[in-house]
Assembly symmetry: C2
Homo-oligomer: 183 residues x 2
DNA sequence: AAGTCATTGCACACTGGTGTGCAATGATGG
DNA sequence: CCATCATTGCACACCAGTGTGCAATGACTT
């Protein structure tokens, strides 16, 4: 069924998020299915990753479109707060860029990187974000902060803490960051 | 010779720093030696990692002792600037905590974590660092910032940028962080 | 009832990394 | 010159993960 395929993708996102080295077997059993079935939907591990990336790009584009459709004077800070959750959801892909299929992933994920860098760049130009690092690197860093928090074994501090920290790292003064973070 | 053993350790630190999944063969050839020779010095991969950890703990203790021996009113900020380089040098070990021998590594590296957490805790108590996250997590985050920068493909921005970013994330106002960072 | 289709259970081949055994080589120092 | 010892070069066994082939099962449709 098509449900199965979706469930595998969903579970793979979780499992690989926990451990990027998880094998097809582990993903399969976590999805309540046999290894062979996974290969039925995704001929190779890379195919599965590709499917994951397609979803990632799609969701990211959706969020960007949604935000762009809203008020023009939406603060960059709010923008950040909306974008990070999505990038966190697909954090595996970022982690996997250093691995075997790194080139492929880096290529397909490049546009997202550029979007984030663009975002931060505009924030810097608007004088909201600090300028001690290039925009591309700064966005990667803020991203890193988000999923470092998510990966911590404390579940009590959620996306709000991540957002505040990201903003701090981006150079937004603490008082303002705390005030702007949603939640 | 003993040189060989040292060289292997040194090279392993680099190679694994680039790619934590690098095999014994890759480490060996990078050290200009044959795989078999590595096994001569370190019976298993885990043994090699243990040796790496011993070094890490030793160096970290040395830095802490050095700083403690200096003036009592050394600012926390300077303290941070001195500690991060060491933790960055041994970044592999942090990365490897999520892997196969994660438990072992986590155990032997725990004391360092606690030291860093302590450091940040005292910074928070002194009112220098922000309080939006628990000390332990905050120190991990600042650490993450350091080696995210080091891992970037831009070699021009070094430890100064990393320090500034760490300080920003810790909640130190931008102007002050820039002023205090060495370099 | 018949047919379609996803899933399953096994068996298999292949790969890449790990760790070991052993004889040969070669430098170093007494 | 001789002995020692690190290093080397193979060969090997072993394991875990990947990907494939194929027949059997079972549910859902018409």
């Amino acid at each position: 069924m098509k449900e199965t395929r979706d469930r595998i993708l969903e579970v793979a996102l979780e499992v690989l998020g926990e451990n990027p080295d998880a094998g097809m077997g582990e993903i399969a059993s976590s999805a309540g299915v046999v290894r062979r079935t996974v290969y039925g939907h995704f001929p190779s591990r890379l195919d599965l990753l590709r499917a994951l990336m397609e979803r990632a790009v799609a969701e990211m584009e959706a969020v960007l479109a949604e935000v762009n459709a809203s008020e023009a004077d939406v603060s960059w800070v709010e923008f950040v707060a909306r974008v990070w959750p999505v990038t966190h959801r697909y954090r595996v892909l970022l982690a996997l860029r250093r691995g075997e299929h790194g080139e492929t992933i880096h290529g397909l994920l490049g546009p997202v990187d550029e979007l984030l860098a663009d975002l931060v760049q505009r924030g810097q130009d608007a004088g909201v974000f600090a300028r001690h690092l290039p925009a591309g690197l700064l966005s990667q860093l803020a991203y890193g902060a988000v999923f470092a928090i998510a990966d911590s074994d404390r579940s009590d501090l959620g996306s709000r803490a991540a957002t505040i920290t990201s903003l701090l790292m981006l150079g937004v003064p603490e008082a303002r960051a705390v005030a702007l973070a949603p939640g």
